[in-house]
Amino acid sequence: MSDVSASTPASSPPPDAAGRRSRRRVNPNLLVGASLVLLIVGMAIVSFFWTPHDPTLVNAATRLQKPSGDYWFGTDKFGRDVFSQVMVGARTTLFVGFVAVGVATAIGVPLGVLGGMVSRGPGEVLMRGNDLLLAFPALLLAIMFAAVYGASTLVAMIAIGIATIPSFARLIRSGTLQVMGTEYVLAARAAGRSPFAIGARHVLPNVSSLVIVQASVSFAIAVLAEAALSFLGFGTPPPTPSWGRMLQESQEMLWSAPRLAVFPGVAIAVAVLGFNLLGDGLRDRFDPKLDDRR
C-alpha cells in the first residue's frame, strides 16, 4: 500500500459534498440517518421489555398467517410472530455492530495513533502489519473463524471486527499525521511535552470525530456481513432471531409468502442505510477542513 492510499481510507464512503454547502442548514443525511438508527435502537430497547408475542415460541396452530391486528407482520412456518422476531433481530444486529466496531476501535485507534506519532521505523513496521490484515477480508476471516470456533454471532463479529481494524488504523494514522504537523503540536513538542501527553492532549481529541464517523460506517458494513454470514449458515445460530437467518429461512416460502423475505430484507436495508447516512452526516458536521475549502 502506498502512502497515498493511507489518506483514502478503505471503507469509508466519500464525504457528501452536497451537505458541505452550509453547516447551519439542517443536514438531511444526518437527520435521516439518525432517525433510522434511532428507530433500530428503539426497537431493540423496547424488545427487552415487550414484544407482541414470544419470538421463539413455536405453534403449529398459527403457522404462516397473513399480517393481521394480532400478528402485524404475519407468522412464519413455525407459527412465530415475524414482527417480534424483527424487533429482537434488531438486538442481534446492534450486538453485531457493537462488538465488531468495538474490536476494531479498541485495536485500530491505538495502532493508528501510534503509527502516526512514530512515523519512522517501528511505526512503519506497525502499519505494514496492519496492511497485511487487509489481505484477509471480513467474510473470509469470518468463515475461517466459524470453521474453527463454530458458528456463533460473537465469533463472526470478532472476525469482522478484526478485519475492520486496518481501515480504522489507516484513517486514524492519516488524521494523526495531520495533527502532528500542526503548529500547536510543534509548539508542544518544542516545550518538551512527552509524546504520551501530546497523544492524549492533542491527537486523540482531534481524531475522535474521525473515529465516530468511521464507527458509524463500519457499523453498516458489519450489519451487511452478519446478514451474509447468517445466510450462509456461519452466523447467528437458531433460535436467536437474526435478520440474515430470517431471510434464509424465508426462501422456501418465497413463492407463497414473499413477505417473510420482505420484512427482514427491509430491516437490513434500513439499518445499513441509517448507519451510512449517519456516518456521512457526521463527517460533514465534523470535518473542519471542508469548511475551509468553501
Binding site: A60, F78, G150, E252, S256
Partner: protein, 518 residues
C-alpha cells in the same frame, strides 16, 4: 443442505464424507432367500425403447470421489449403484431381493451355502467379460481392500469358490438373513479384476450406464453403455446436477435447467409444483428415521424418567406439521413402514405434557440444561427449533447448539458422544441393530437382551426373524432409547411425462435405468 445419513437413494446423502451412520453388521436380514430364477434385465424395465434423449436430475450432495470402497457416504452409491455397478442381486421396487448379475441362486438346507448362477453375456465397460472369477474377486476384496466399516457385512462369509465360469458358491460361517440383503447394497457391487486401479475417478462396472463427464462442484453425467448385456435404458445421457442450496434446486426445475428434483429439501416449497400442470409430485417413504437421539450412556438422559418425559413432551403431529410441512409418517420405533416387521408404536408415548412434567420432576434432573446438539442439516435445524420450543413448554431447560455438518457434529456428537440429545436421520436400511445394538455407538445404548434378540432374528427363519424384530423394536421404544420424530418422506418433483420414478426410496441407488420420457 449437504445432507445426511442415509442410504436410500432418493434423499440427499451426506456430503462426501460422513454419513451412513449405520454399521451394516448386526441388523436383520432380508425377506426373500429363495432362488427364484428370472429373466434378468439388470434393472431396466422391459419394453421401453431407447432414445437419444437426455435427462437432468437435481440432487444436493455431491460425492467427493467415486470410490465407495474407501469413502463413506451415500452420495456415491446413489449415482453409481445399479446404474454403473451391479450386484449379483438387487432390491426391486417392492423391496424384494431379485436377480441382477445372478440369474438365479439356491440356498442349502442349513442356510449356510449359496450357489449363484451368473449371467453369461455380461460385460464390463473395460471390455472384459463378467465371470465367476470376478464375482469371487469382488466378494473377497471387500474383506481385503475395503476400508469403510460397511465391509463388516462380509465378515460372515467363510469361503467363496468358483465352480465354473458362470457359477459361484459362497459359504457362510453361520446362517444370516442379513447377508443376502446386504448383497443388494454397495457391498455387493461387482468389480472387474482389471478395473479397480482408479476407482476414485474411473468406475468400471457392468451396468446400463457408464461414467460420462464429471465437472467437480457441478455435475456428474452418465452415458448409456451401448455394450450393455441387458435391456438398454431409455435415456442416452443422465446428468446428476448438485445444488448446495435447496431453493436453487427448486428454481432450477422451475426454469427448466433440470427435469427432476431427486430430493426435495424444502417441503414447504412443494405447493408451487403441486399447483402447476407442468410437474408431477411424488411422495413416498424412505428408510430415513429422523431420530431425536439421547445419550443413554451418561448425563441426564441416562435417567429413564428423563427419556420418557421427553417422549411425552413431544407433540409429533404438530412437529412434523411445522418443521417438515406435514410430510413424513410418524413411527414409534426404529422401523420404517416399508420393513416387514413394521408395527405402529406411536401409541406407546402419546403427547401428554402433564405426564412429562410429572416425570421430569420425579427424575430429579429438572434443573439440568439439556444440550440439544444438532447438525447443520435442513431437517435437523428446522425440527431442532420445534423440539426446543416444545420441551420448554413442558418445563425443560434446553440449549440448542448447531454444529457444522459433517466435521464438527461428527467429532463432538458422533465420535465423542459429548451431547445430551441430537437430531439426525438414520438412513441406512434396517439399521436398528447398528444404531442401538452397539454400546460404543453414539447413542451409547446398552441392552444385552436387545442384542441377543437381534442375533436370534438374523439366524432364524424368516417368520422367526419378523417376530423377533417386532419384539426388539417394541423393547427399544418402551425403554425410550430415543424418540422417533418421523420418517423422512421421499419427495420427488419431475416434469410431467417422465415415467418410471419409484415412489419409495428403499435401495441405496437412485436407479435411473427404469426412467423414460414420452
Amino acid at each position: 443442505m449437504r445432507h445426511q445419513i442415509r442410504k436410500t437413494a432418493l434423499l440427499a446423502a451426506a456430503a462426501t464424507a460422513a454419513t451412513s451412520l449405520a454399521l451394516a453388521s448386526c441388523s436383520a436380514g432380508s425377506s426373500t432367500s429363495g432362488g427364484n430364477a428370472g429373466a434378468s434385465s439388470g434393472g431396466a424395465t422391459g419394453g421401453q425403447q431407447s432414445s437419444d434423449a437426455a435427462l437432468s436430475i437435481g440432487l444436493v450432495a455431491e460425492p467427493a470421489n467415486l470410490d465407495f470402497t474407501k469413502t463413506d457416504g451415500a452420495a456415491i452409491p446413489q449415482v453409481l449403484l445399479y446404474n454403473v455397478y451391479q450386484g449379483l442381486v438387487q432390491l426391486d421396487q417392492k423391496g424384494d431381493i431379485s436377480p441382477a448379475l445372478a440369474t438365479k441362486w439356491t440356498v442349502s438346507d442349513d442356510r449356510k451355502t449359496y450357489t449363484f448362477d451368473l449371467a453369461k453375456d455380461a460385460k464390463f465397460t473395460n471390455g472384459k467379460p463378467f465371470t465367476a472369477d470376478d464375482a469371487k474377486f469382488s466378494i473377497d476384496r471387500v474383506k481385503k481392500d475395503w476400508t469403510v466399516s460397511l465391509k463388516s457385512a462380509m465378515n460372515v462369509v467363510d469361503s467363496t469358490t468358483v465352480v465354473s465360469p458362470t457359477q459361484l458358491k459362497v459359504v457362510l460361517k453361520a446362517p444370516s438373513n442379513d447377508w443376502l440383503y446386504r448383497m443388494t447394497t454397495r457391498v455387493g457391487a461387482m468389480f472387474s479384476r482389471t478395473g479397480v486401479d482408479a476407482l476414485a475417478t474411473k468406475p468400471v462396472g457392468t451396468g446400463p450406464y457408464q461414467l460420462g463427464k464429471w465437472t467437480r462442484g457441478d455435475s456428474i453425467s452418465l452415458v448409456r453403455n451401448d455394450a450393455y448385456w441387458g435391456t438398454k435404458p431409455y435415456y442416452q445421457t443422465v446428468t446428476f446436477k448438485y445444488f448446495k442450496d435447496p431453493t436453487a434446486l427448486n428454481n432450477a426445475l422451475l426454469t427448466g435447467t433440470i427435469n427432476v428434483i431427486g430430493t426435495v429439501q424444502t417441503p414447504e416449497s412443494l405447493g408451487q409444483f403441486e399447483n402447476n400442470d407442468k410437474y408431477q409430485v411424488i411422495e413416498g417413504t424412505t428408510n430415513g428415521e429422523v431420530v431425536l437421539s439421547f445419550n443413554n450412556g451418561s448425563g441426564p438422559m441416562k435417567n429413564k424418567k428423563m427419556r420418557e418425559a421427553v417422549r411425552y413432551a413431544i407433540d409429533h403431529k404438530a412437529l412434523v406439521d411445522t418443521c417438515w410441512a406435514g410430510r413424513g409418517a410418524l413411527i414409534g420405533s426404529m422401523v420404517p413402514p416399508t420393513d416387514p416387521w413394521y408395527e405402529d408404536l406411536t401409541g406407546l408415548y402419546p403427547h401428554d405434557v402433564a405426564k412429562a412434567k410429572t416425570l421430569l420432576k420425579e427424575s430429579g434432573e429438572a434443573n439440568q440444561t439439556l444440550r440439544l446438539r444438532i447438525p447443520t442439516l435442513p431437517y435437523a435445524v428446522s425440527c431442532g427449533t420445534v423440539v426446543k420450543s416444545q420441551l420448554e413448554q413442558a418445563g425443560f431447560k434446553v440449549k440448542l447448539d448447531q454444529l457444522e455438518f459433517p466435521a464438527a457434529w461428527l467429532t463432538t456428537v458422533f465420535t465423542n458422544a459429548d451431547y445430551d440429545m441430537s437430531i439426525v436421520a438414520h438412513v441406512e436400511p434396517r439399521d436398528m441393530g447398528a444404531v442401538f445394538g452397539d454400546p460404543t455407538y453414539y447413542t451409547r445404548y446398552t441392552n444385552p437382551a436387545f442384542s441377543a434378540l437381534l442375533k436370534q432374528a438374523d439366524e432364524g427363519t424368516e417368520a422367526e426373524q419378523v417376530a423377533d424384530m417386532k419384539k426388539a423394536a417394541r423393547m427399544l421404544s418402551e425403554d425410550a432409547a430415543a424418540d422417533w420424530l418421523f420418517v423422512l418422506p421421499n419427495l420427488i418433483v419431475a416434469d410431467k411425462g417422465i415415467t418410471g420414478i419409484p415412489k419409495n426410496a428403499i435401495s441405496e441407488s437412485f436407479d435411473v435405468t427404469g426412467l423414460a420420457g414420452s
